[in-house]
Assembly symmetry: C2
Homo-oligomer: 216 residues x 2
Amino acid sequence: MKKNQLPVKTLERLILYKRLLSEVQNRGQQTVYSHQIAQLVGNSAVQVRRDLMQIGFSGSSRNGYVIKDLLQAIEKTLNNAYQQKMILLGVGNLGKAILTYFTCQQPLFNLVAAFDNDPNKVNRVIGGCRCFPLEKLDELVKQEQIKLAILTVPAFEAQNLANKLIYLGIKGILNFAPVTLKVPDSVICEQMDIMLQLEKLAFLTQQKDEVNYAKV
Amino acid sequence: MKKNQLPVKTLERLILYKRLLSEVQNRGQQTVYSHQIAQLVGNSAVQVRRDLMQIGFSGSSRNGYVIKDLLQAIEKTLNNAYQQKMILLGVGNLGKAILTYFTCQQPLFNLVAAFDNDPNKVNRVIGGCRCFPLEKLDELVKQEQIKLAILTVPAFEAQNLANKLIYLGIKGILNFAPVTLKVPDSVICEQMDIMLQLEKLAFLTQQKDEVNYAKV
DNA sequence: TTCACGATGTGAATCATTTCACAGGGGCAA
DNA sequence: TTGCCCCTGTGAAATGATTCACATCGTGAA
Ligand SMILES: NC(=O)c1ccc[n+]([C@@H]2O[C@H](COP(=O)([O-])OP(=O)(O)OC[C@H]3O[C@@H](n4cnc5c(N)ncnc54)[C@H](O)[C@@H]3O)[C@@H](O)[C@H]2O)c1
Ligand SMILES: NC(=O)c1ccc[n+]([C@@H]2O[C@H](COP(=O)([O-])OP(=O)(O)OC[C@H]3O[C@@H](n4cnc5c(N)ncnc54)[C@H](O)[C@@H]3O)[C@@H](O)[C@H]2O)c1
């Protein structure tokens, strides 16, 4: 097995570059320098160049990078990541927000269906996406060959539901519940942990404040 | 200046340990081994021990760690991070979900007020938190000495609002808008980038799939 | 045509994080 | 009491990420 794997950190930055380059392009700009990208993304120019090196993209030393080509190169690397079908489970407050956001704003992903076990939520259309009862899960996942799921159910339900999803063939889970899911090696689970980030932020600001005091 | 800074990665894990240990404790367990924590958090036992080393906490070789003491030690490290006051800006779909979650579930933080510039949202109570018009921002932030803010406004408003917040003395921002905010060194900005995580997930699962094919 | 400048691309150094490997300790069984 | 087992704590190695430093190149000005 080769080690041509893109480092995850680089992957994350490439996604940022892409987003940002689209904007810049929409403003009519044709080329960028690494230090411009760096500036916009809060980065160093060397790091940008290294990242582009990873995907084998070259610019010209005089004009920097041609935005159109660069975007294409990044998209080619991320390629098959787009337009993958996905489902969402748990149409509560958070789930609804995400559903709405998706269907309004994001042409990138294909959010096929939502599921909930609350009879009041079922069979309604929320943010352009139909909400099905849990009983339909099997059928739909198999039929549509879904590989990705967003989990916005209560924490104590998350592992159970994840197990079911995995059993049905889901390969990637974006989990908002504040629990660490046990998943087999063949499945990837990303954690969106809002509270954790907040605690972290609270700690870091407070710590920085102390350092500032110490300096004085 | 000393280098007694807690590594960020360790910080994140400590928060997880804390969360998890509370649960375990509630189930009546008194002590844990590092490998048990590791198991629950999806980690290695060595890493757990190293993390605890960082905060100078010791267990006994026969019985592992006393949960009560360990929790206390972690809380002591994170100490002042709790009960800090914070505000939320942008009471849209996402903002509402977070507000509701907070006031219902999280005794950890003190979400003091929400702000929006939409007259329809203003002066209502959402999830137990009052929504103020933007004009009240100055007054309230200064009066209550707010240091933390959650940003759930549209992307194109985010930087402006962030500038204002920083000017008013905010030191930490949790930003949900998909833009990289420019902030001075004295301010910390954490990004909660849902779409980025999804793209990442989509890429990784798809990549893993390819690797699996290659194996066969 | 030549030179100098301001970019890129990249080996090597540095810094950060994780893992390895093992010393040390304490209790329990015999 | 002895020996063993399973734990913790940690120096040192390995791995991963970032930064430094510089060779290189293409262009525009002289
Ligand atoms: N809302 C937030 O800001 C926020 C922040 C951090 C974490 N979270 C986490 O996100 C998750 C959802 O939060 P929320 O605020 O939307 O909660 P919520 O209670 O509003 O929504 C949960 C939804 O899941 C549904 N559900 C319950 N069990 C289910 C099952 N077995 N199958 C399918 N659907 C099921 C419920 O009917 C409900 O609609 C929770 O785990 C929460 O801890 C939310
Ligand atoms: N909802 C999601 O799932 C989701 C996912 C990813 C990212 N985001 C990001 O989160 C942010 C909010 O998303 P949303 O779905 O809640 O959008 P939304 O449009 O529902 O909410 C935005 C809110 O901000 C308010 N607002 C606008 N300008 C303001 C200003 N200057 N000051 C104060 N309030 C202002 C609006 O009145 C509105 O209530 C956006 O930046 C979006 O890109 C949301």
